[in-house]
């Protein structure tokens, strides 16, 4: 039987973030994670996620550059994309109405229920 769970690709250079997400939202979504930002677009093409969550501050290629790459690739440009970042606090995200640097943004410190709510909105 085909899984009805949505698939989320998470890109971050800190594996602790994956551990947190796996605990908090792993029961609701299939998480595909990578610390290799440079390979993220290829991975997205292969796994066809329903949503991409991407850190901004990463050593080799930053989230902004990566978001452009996702947009340029014809196989990934339709996939909803959001930054998952600690550059902004949950309150700042609210003040910015969820818009961080022209893309959707979720603060890393967002409590799990709110984070799930935001993800659900993005998945719609």
């Amino acid at each position: 039987m085909m899984s009805t769970r949505k698939k989320i690709l998470v890109i971050d250079d800190d594996e602790a973030v994956f551990g947190y997400l796996q605990t908090k939202i792993g029961c609701l979504y299939d998480l595909v994670t990578t610390t290799e930002a440079g390979l993220a677009v290829d991975l997205a093409v292969r796994v066809e996620p329903d949503l991409i969550l991407c850190d901004i501050d990463m050593p080799d290629i930053n989230g902004g550059e990566l978001s452009v790459k996702f947009r340029e690739c014809e196989y990934t440009r339709h996939i909803p994309f959001a930054y998952l970042t600690s550059f902004v606090s949950p309150r700042e995200v609210r003040d910015l109405r969820g818009n961080v640097g022209g893309r959707h943004g979720i603060a890393k410190a967002t409590p799990a229920p709110e984070m799930i709510e935001m993800i659900e909105q993005l998945l719609q």
Partner: protein, 738 residues
């Protein structure tokens, strides 16, 4: 199976038929030979060779089966027939063939007159191909016949099975599909099948159906009962949750009320405690007056300390106490406390003996907390020590720094097990049972530990462990005897510049005390009872320093600060130094004040010394941004219970990152420092380590501009935090994981 059996039977039949045909063929050949022999004998008898030859030839002519040769012993007779067609005369050969080894049949011919005389022989040469063909034809015919019979019989059987087995079963199956067993419907056997196996099968199905209906009935009833029970349990759980929530709210309200009450007590107590010093300034009191003044002073300060401590204990218990360690000499503190208790000890003829490492022994702790711990434990020790004995105190430097307090008395048996528990007390009419409990709490909040061993023979030993001060932080200049207890004497000798001071406070007692604290001249002191008046006063004349209470009617301190800053910025005036002067002395309040733009957060009560020192310039810098941030880590971090298992691994990986942070710092690589601090900040924020996240945020924010030493202090604090933090699981609501 039937096909295999049919095929097998066919094969066997054909083999048998073939054998039989071959036997028949051999028998016919024999008979033919007999006939030929008789004819030849007759021909010999009448001596008519021509007839004999003709008869034989004629008989054999029609047979395509056999070739025949007649051999005569008489060469003359033989030569006559040599040219006869259809027969091979082998009379030329003098040798007789006497066997049928090559498939030929040979029969000797005797003379009719003398049976002993063999006159020749007849040789039959069968044609095997022709014989085989005949045999095969026969076998094939029989096979075909048998196959046809099989077909007829099989077809018949099939029809029988269809009519008597398949059709009734189909009928039963259709009825079974339509049957609703739960309303009592049952199967009836197909017509004519009542007494057969099929009829019995229908009976069995009906019995089974009845049993199933009963079983399903039971199961449904049980499910319903279970659901009912679950409903009841859920309802009870909801009620309990509601009660819990109500209780929690009630407790919260109670705690809040108590906290406010305690907090509000501090302001008037502070005024009371300050009055004796002010009175002494104006006039030298006589002995009796001095005794009374000292009593007021010490009592007020004791109550103040109790109130402060109870506020701190409350924070420690709920895990929100912000540990604010500083370097100080614990050995000096021990000496100070023993001096204070000297009178009491003398009354009991108890001596103090202090030993251990050479002073100073620096610790990284809070002096007031350590003072409370030591005062409490040493007082207990004096009380418990038998008269005429010694209370030993040893201070051992090392990691951790170890303080050992020993007296010869034993802890009474009933309280040994509960020695450190809250409200555990024994034999003291005024004991609250908080002393040892709070001492241990205070030790732990400083990342230390307090343990006790006692026995009737060895007496009682208390071990206090505290964090050592890292080697590089040990002050080069030896500090003084150490500020053991707050001193009431005003600070003499501080040169206070002529400054214009604005005091803003709605409490007239506070205002009075402060005014008396501030010598005028050289200071020029102005007052305002709320924020609005303060702004107006600033409009009229720019003060050099403003002491601003935070909570005031009409306009609070934060709003007033904002307006004064705006006003002075508009006018191009140098900004006044504005000090938040508040009874709130917790870390959150401190941070809030500095974040709002106050130059300093000063907590009430403050001694005249502190205030004058501040105004004299020592310890008061122009902008808060330059002030070394106070590092006050959380001691206990509450994390969501589902994350709890992952915490050891998480902390391990964070320590590794913190080590990299230190490396970057040593290398002066500020960008790498920023990246690591950012990474740590994000993960700490996620897992609920708010203090650590805040420190990393500061590191990230200041990575470019701040002094590396200052950053190093913060990295130190982070290290300490990660090494000592206690993590506890916090129960969560249901919404997260469902």
């Amino acid at each position: 199976m039937a096909v295999v059996a049919g095929g097998l039977s066919l094969a066997v039949t054909m083999a048998v038929t073939r054998d039989r045909a071959e036997t028949n063929s051999a028998r016919e050949l024999g008979e033919l030979l007999d006939t030929v022999e008789s004819t030849v004998q007759i021909a010999c008898f009448v001596e008519d060779q021509a007839l004999a030859a003709e008869v034989v030839r004629g008989m054999l002519k029609n047979s395509k089966v056999l070739g025949v040769a007649i051999r005569a012993n008489n060469r003359e007779l033989a030569s006559r027939y040599r040219a006869s067609p259809g027969a091979a005369d082998t009379a030329e050969s003098s040798e007789f063939v006497s066997s049928a080894a090559d498939g030929r049949l040979v029969r000797s011919v005797a003379s009719p007159f003398d049976p002993a005389q063999i006159v020749g022989e007849i040789v039959l040469d069968p044609d095997p191909a022709a014989i085989s063909r005949r045999v095969a034809d026969d076998a094939q015919f029989v096979g075909l016949l048998l196959g046809a019979q099989w077909l007829v019989i099989g077809g018949g059987l099939l029809v029988l099975v269809l009519l008597n087995v398949v059709r009734p079963i189909k009928v039963i199956s259709d009825r079974l599909h339509r049957m609703d067993a739960e309303v009592g419907e049952r199967l009836s056997p197909p017509a004519g099948q009542e007494g057969t196996e099929i009829g019995r099968l229908v009976g069995d199905i009906n019995t089974l159906a009845s049993r199933l209906v009963v079983a399903i009935g039971h199961a449904t009833e049980q499910t319903r009962q279970l659901q009912e029970a679950k409903g009841q349990v859920d309802a009870q759980a909801r009620q309990l949750e509601a009660k819990n929530a109500a209780l929690a709210r009630a407790m919260q309200v109670q705690e809040e009320v108590e906290r406010i009450a305690r907090h509000d007590l501090k302001t008037p107590l502070n005024s009371i405690a300050a009055i004796p010093a002010l009175l002494r300034r104006n006039r030298q009191p006589d002995e009796a007056e001095e005794a009374l003044l000292s009593m007021i002073e010490s009592s007020a300060r004791r109550v103040l300390r109790m109130v402060s401590l109870s506020l701190d204990l409350f924070r420690m218990e709920e895990g929100s106490y912000a540990f604010s360690p500083k370097a100080f000499d614990i050995a000096a503190l021990v000496r100070g406390v023993t001096r204070e208790l000297a009178e009491e000890a003398r009354a009991k003829a108890v001596d103090f003996r202090i030993g251990g490492s050479e002073p100073p022994v620096f610790v990284r702790a809070e002096e007031t907390l350590c003072y409370s711990i030591l005062a409490n434990l040493l007082k207990n020790a004096v009380e418990a020590a038998p008269e005429g004995t010694t209370v030993d105190v040893s201070v051992e430097a090392g990691d951790p720094v170890r303080l050992r307090l020993h007296n010869d008395g034993a802890v009474p048996l009933p309280v040994r097990a509960s020695f450190f528990e809250k409200y555990a007390t024994y034999g003291k009419s005024r004991g609250t049972g908080l002393g040892t409990y709070s001492a241990r709490l205070m030790a732990r909040v400083q990342h230390g530990e307090l343990t006790m061993e006692t026995s009737e023979t060895a007496g009682t030993t208390l071990d206090l462990e505290l964090l050592p001060l890292p080697e590089w932080d040990v002050p080069r200049e030896e500090p003084g005897a150490g500020p053991v207890v707050p001193t009431a004497s005003p600070g003499a000798g501080e040169t206070v510049p002529a400054l214009h001071i604005l005091l803003v406070d709605d409490d007239p007692d506070n205002m009075l005390i402060m005014k008396l604290f501030l010598p005028s001249p050289p200071l020029e002191v102005e007052t305002a009872v709320n924020g609005r008046e303060a702004v107006e006063a600033c409009r009229v004349r720019r003060p050099d320093v403003v002491f601003m209470d935070l909570e005031m009617p009409v306009m609070g301190g934060f709003e007033a600060l904002k307006r004064i800053r705006e006003l002075q910025a508009e006018r191009g005036e140098a900004p006044s130094r504005i000090v938040a002067f508040s009874a709130h002395d917790d870390e959150a309040s401190r941070r809030r004040s500095v974040a709002a733009g106050f130059d300093l957060h000063l907590s009430k009560p403050s001694s005249q010394n502190e205030i004058l020192a501040l105004l004299a310039g020592s310890g008061f810098r122009s902008r808060s941004a330059d002030v070394v941030p106070e590092v006050l880590p959380e001691t206990t971090v509450w994390v969501d219970e589902d994350l709890f298992e992952a915490i050891p691994g998480f902390l391990e990986s964070r320590r590794a990152l913190a080590a990299l942070l230190r490396q970057s710092l040593r290398a002066g690589d500020r960008e790498s420092l920023r990246q690591l601090a950012h990474k740590l900040k994000g993960s700490f924020g996620m897992y609920g380590f708010k203090w650590a996240a805040q420190i990393c945020r500061e590191l990230e924010d200041k990575h470019r501009s701040a002094d590396l030493k200052l950053l190093a202090l913060q990295v130190d604090a982070l290290d300490q935090h990660l090494a000592h933090v206690k993590v506890r699981p916090r129960a969560q609501g249901r919404d997260v994981s469902h």
